[in-house]
Each structure stands twice: as C-alpha cells, then as structure tokens.
C-alpha cells in the first residue's frame, strides 16, 4: 500500500465526514436539556408536531392506496405508454419540490382547474403537496419488489384457482412486503421533511398550517433559534429511526425471507 496515497485519501474523506458530524452535532450543543424540554411543551410546537405526524401518516396511507395499484400495474402488465408512466413516476423525484408546489398552487388557485376545491392554505393542501413529492418513493420501491417476484409463482397461484385479486393479496403482497415497507418508511421520512412545496401551497400559518419544517423555518427567521432547534432534534430522531428501520429491512431483504432468497434455492 502506498502510504501517502492512503493518507491523502483518508484525509479527504475524513474532512468530509468530520464536517458532517461537527455540523450536525452543533444542533445538539445549541440547546440545553432544560431549554429543549421547555420548548417542546409550548403549544405551538406541540401543534406543529401533531400536524406533521397527522399529515405524514395521511400521506403514507394515500400513497399506499394509489401507489400499490400503480406499482403493481407497472411491474406486471404490458401496455402501450408504459415507459411514459414509468418516467412520470420519477418526475417528482428529480423535480424540485418548489416547482411541484407552484404547480399545485396554480392548479388549485383562483383560475386553476381545481379551483372549486378549497385546499390552499389548509391541511388538505399540505397533504396534497407532500403526497406529490413523497409518493414516488413508495411506488418505485414497491414496483421493484413486485418485479423481483418469480413470475411462475404468480402463475402457479392462478392455475391453482386463485383470481388475480386473491393472488395479489395472498402471494404478491406478502412476497413484496419488505420492499413496500422500505417504500413506506422512505415516503414517510420524505413527507415529514418536506418544506418547499408545503410552504408554497399551505403557507406558514401558526397552529393551522405550521408543520415541523415550516416551524423550523419560521422560528429561525424570526430569531427564535431554540424552538427551531427543538423541532430539528425531534425530526433528527425520526430520521435516525427511519435509517435504522431501513437498514434492518435491507438486511431482511438480502436474507432468506424475500423472493430473491427464495429464487436462489
């Protein structure tokens, strides 16, 4: 091993990782335990946390409702225009959330085609914005999981007398469960952390449309750093939980429970 090469490599990577760690730990040192517990007892903070949980859970449920059929169709059917739909799913992933937010704003605004629905500056608006930005992650993950099921196994179910719906619920969904679960986790994390589209569509109205991320921004802008930090720390703990669940699901999927493990036998 060329020592200087290894050292310079480690140094560059070390600076990078060190920077991430130091910056993130600034959040921890920016508050005291007393201040933190004080902040999270404030009614506005509690309201923001509840609103975030409420909307993000609604988003996950809606994403499951719409996303699972979409993923199943994309994974198992052949039809014209499938490639276009496939690309459509990826658009919200590469499109900046703010652009999505603006599009929703216009669509539901005074002259938009959905103007009769009253969603702007409401909780409904938050949910639509988050759904738009976060649901593609669930669809992608579920689609990959459906695709990796051995086609013959689904065919076997059909020849055994199972309708397509029965096959979906008793074979495809159980075999895709880990992929769907990681999609849910990813979508939930996304919805929870969404800011641009939410702020655009629902504005920043305390107690009414103030999610945790909106709260962080508002309080930071108005100089109330300790409230921002408290909300950030809670979001951070959610993120860590997400990561751990995610890695755990990855382990299971690589193990012998999933369809790939089965196919390898």
């Amino acid at each position: 091993m060329s020592l200087s090469f290894r050292i310079s490599l480690s140094l560059i990577a070390g600076i990078f990782f060190g920077f991430i760690v130091v910056v993130l730990s600034c959040l921890l040192t920016a508050t005291s335990f007393a201040e933190f517990t004080g902040e999270i007892r404030s009614p506005e903070i509690i309201s923001a946390i509840l609103l975030s949980l409420e909307t993000s859970i609604a988003v996950v449920l809606l994403a499951l409702l719409f996303g699972i059929p979409a993923a199943y169709i994309l994974a198992t059917k052949r039809f014209k225009g499938k490639n276009i739909l496939d690309t459509l799913v990826d658009i919200p992933i590469v499109l900046p959330p703010l652009v999505c937010g603006l599009a929703i704003l216009i669509a539901f605004g005074g002259e938009g085609i959905f103007s009769r629905f009253d969603v702007l500056f409401t909780v409904k608006g938050i949910i639509i914005a988050q759904l738009f930005v976060a649901s593609p992650f669930l669809i992608r993950s579920a689609k990959t999981a459906f695709e990796s099921i051995d086609r013959d196994v689904m065919d076997a179910a059909r020849t055994l007398g199972a309708s397509e719906f029965y096959t979906l619920t008793k074979v495809s969904l159980p075999l895709a469960r880990n992929g769907i679960a990681s999609g849910v986790v990813m979508t939930w994390a996304r919805a929870l952390g969404e800011f641009g589209a939410t702020a655009m569509v629902a504005g920043c109205i305390p107690y009414r449309t103030e999610t945790m991320t909106v709260g962080i921004y508002m309080h930071a802008m108005s100089g109330d750093i300790s409230a921002s930090v408290a909300l950030s720390l809670i979001l951070m703990s959610f993120a860590f939980t997400t990561l751990i669940v995610f890695k755990y699901l990855g382990t299971i999927r690589d193990g012998n429970l999933g369809p790939r493990g089965a196919a390898a036998q």
Partner: protein, 361 residues
C-alpha cells in the same frame, strides 16, 4: 379431453406457435417432445390461460375455454422451477388451491385433502417444513401435491424433472408415471428428453418450429416415424422391449430379458415380469472382434452378434450389429474401425456397463 385448433402466438416479431393442432384424450398422458425454443412451454401456457393466444380455439371436455380466466379453467400446472410459495410452509402450499377455490374455506376442513395429496407424493409428515429448505426432488413433489390437491380436470407439466440430478430424475419419473396411471388424470407433459418421452407417454407429439410434426404411440414415433424430421430427431437409439426378469434391490441390479438377450442395469423400482424398454447409447458400447458365439460366465452385458452395416456418423463410425435377431448400433472411432478391419458379416462382441442401460418403464 383437451383440444387445440389452429393456435397461433407471436411475441413481437417472433412467431412461436404457427397454427398448432393438438389433442389429449381423457386419462391419457400426452408427451410434447421437442428441442428448446420449439414452442413447448408456450403451448402449455396457452392451454392454462397464462398466455393469451393470438388465434385459434382451445377446448376442454368439449367446451371452448378461450375466454375462461386461468383460475377458472381447472387445469393444474407443474413448473420446471417448482414455483412454490416461499412464504408458506408445505401444508399451506398444498392448501393454497383449496382455499383459493372455495371462496370461504370450511374451518379445518382441508386437513384430510392436504394429507391425502402429500401421501400421494410420499411427503406425509413434511407439513411444517419450509419448502425452500427441501431438496429439488422434494420441492417438485410438493408442487405436484399442490396441483393434485385441487383435483384438476387435467394437469400440465413443463419439464418438471430437468432441474434434478440423474438419480432423482429417474426415480421421480417412475413415480409420476405411476401416479398418473393410478389417478387416470389427463396429462400433457413437456420434455426435450427422448428417454423421458418414451417412458411416460401414452402418446408422443413431436413439436418443431411451432407445429406438431407427428404424433402417435411411442412405438410409432420411435420405430416407424413418418416424417424425416422426427426420424432424425429421434435417431436410432438401441431401444429394446423386454420384461424385468430378476430384481435385486440389495445389490442395486435389475435383470431384463428381451426376446433376444438379457440386459443388466442398475436397480429401478418395478416388479418381476413388468414390461419395460431399455436403451443403450451407441457411444457407450465397446466393440471387439470375436469368434465366440456365446459367452460362458463373463461380464454382464456382453452380447455377441454379426455386423450388418457400417456407416459414417460424424467423426465416428456407426456399426449396426445383428444380435439374436434384434439390431444394435455402436459408435467407434474411425481408427478403431480400420484397425479391427471390420466389415459386414464379421462376428463381434458388444460390451457395455450396467449403468449404460437406461430403463424405460
């Protein structure tokens, strides 16, 4: 009874089935024999409703089932890769079809059916096992039990033995033949293996390029093929009819007496007097010149005969030998043929190992 009339199917540019006609009689085992890519699997898939035909009609017991969805056709399917449900145990795998069929399952009422199906394939007691942890042969037995448990009108088998090793393949082949005859289930069995086709088929249909080239009894297909393609595809492979004479399970040996000579082979479960066929690959036979007519007490499978004909067979020479009225082919190198100075009418000795004799029950 299954009948296909003028089935056509293309995948994109690729015409896989070109107006295929086929019928399997009630209770019959029809073997679809063909090389890979000839459309065998697509044919089964169309019958089961898993692939939608482009043209043509499919009849099951006289009624047209083109528009019946696969789960309402009542046709069992056994896959080459077993296709078991990896998230269910053996019991649940076999029970799946019973539950899926009746909309509401009678509480605990499936137990007897599952047990009977597992007994049929000799896997009684495997109920709680994870199917992915079983051997290939056991997995295919579970798949068979799963298909039989639904009591299908007929069963389709897509090269069910080709992922198994030789010994298991042979044993399971005998079991499938036995089972099919006992139940009297209309069956279509797809394979590329002539020995399997010969052993299993009540009738054999040879598939080529998306069409049936010729169909008939194994005897007709193997001994009197009408089409040149079939004759070439089958070759002439030293197939002899006989009866099992003595069995010796302990010593792993089975004696077969054909009309003309006796053959020794490795043990195959059957009973004395069973009609069997045996085949010997020409390239596994050793040929020697000999003036002796019969051999006192020597190696097993040593047969004396007289050369009928010698012809080129690729890089080798094929020597056709008359042995007690039957004909046997042996392949030897060109140099060996020259050195032995073989010519028509010469008396020769054919020798081969017991393991070179392939039994067809």
């Amino acid at each position: 009874m299954i009948q296909l009339d003028g089935i056509c199917k293309s995948f994109g540019e690729n015409e896989v089935l070109r107006s295929l006609d086929l019928s399997a009689k009630k209770g019959e085992m029809l073997v679809l024999l063909g090389s890979s890519g000839c459309g065998k699997t697509t044919t089964l898939s169309v019958i089961a409703g898993l692939t939608k035909e482009d043209k043509g009609d499919i009849y099951l017991e006289g009624s047209r089932i083109n528009d019946t969805p696969p789960h309402k056709r009542g046709i069992g399917f056994v896959f080459q890769n077993y296709a078991l449900f990896p998230h269910l145990n053996v019991y649940e795998n076999v029970e799946f079809g019973l539950k899926a069929g009746n909309k509401r399952s009678t509480r605990g009422g499936n137990k007897t059916e599952v047990k009977r199906a597992l007994e049929l394939v000799g896997l009684d007691g495997f109920e709680k096992r994870n199917p992915m942890k079983l051997s290939g042969g056991e997995q295919q037995r579970v798949a068979l039990a799963r298909a039989l448990a639904t009591e299908p009108e007929c069963i389709l088998m897509d090269e069910p033995l080709s992922n198994l090793d030789a010994v298991v393949r042979e044993r399971l082949r005998h079991e499938i033949a036995q089972l099919q005859r006992d139940i009297g289930l209309t069956s279509i069995y797809v394979t590329h293996d002539q020995v399997e086709a010969m052993a299993l088929g009540d009738r054999i249909a040879v598939l080529n390029n998306g069409r049936i080239e010729e169909a008939g009894t194994p005897e007709k297909i193997f001994y009197k093929p009408e089409k040149e393609f079939v004759a070439r595809f089958i070759g002439r492979k030293n197939i002899f009819a006989g009866r099992s004479a003595t069995l010796d399970e302990d010593n792993g040996v089975l004696q077969i007496s054909t009309g003309n000579f006796d053959l020794t082979t490795v043990f195959v479960p059957s009973s004395v007097g069973t009609r069997v066929k045996a085949c010997v690959r020409p390239e596994e036979i050793i040929l020697a010149k000999s003036d002796r007519n019969t051999i006192a007490k020597s190696a097993r499978n040593e047969i004396a005969g007289r050369i009928v004909n010698i012809s080129q067979n690729g890089p080798l020479m094929r020597v056709l030998v008359d042995v007690g009225g039957a004909e046997m082919s042996a392949d030897i190198t060109r140099l060996a043929a020259r050195d032995l100075g073989l010519k028509g009418g010469d008396r020769v000795l054919l020798t081969f190992k017991a393991t070179s004799v392939h039994v067809i029950l």
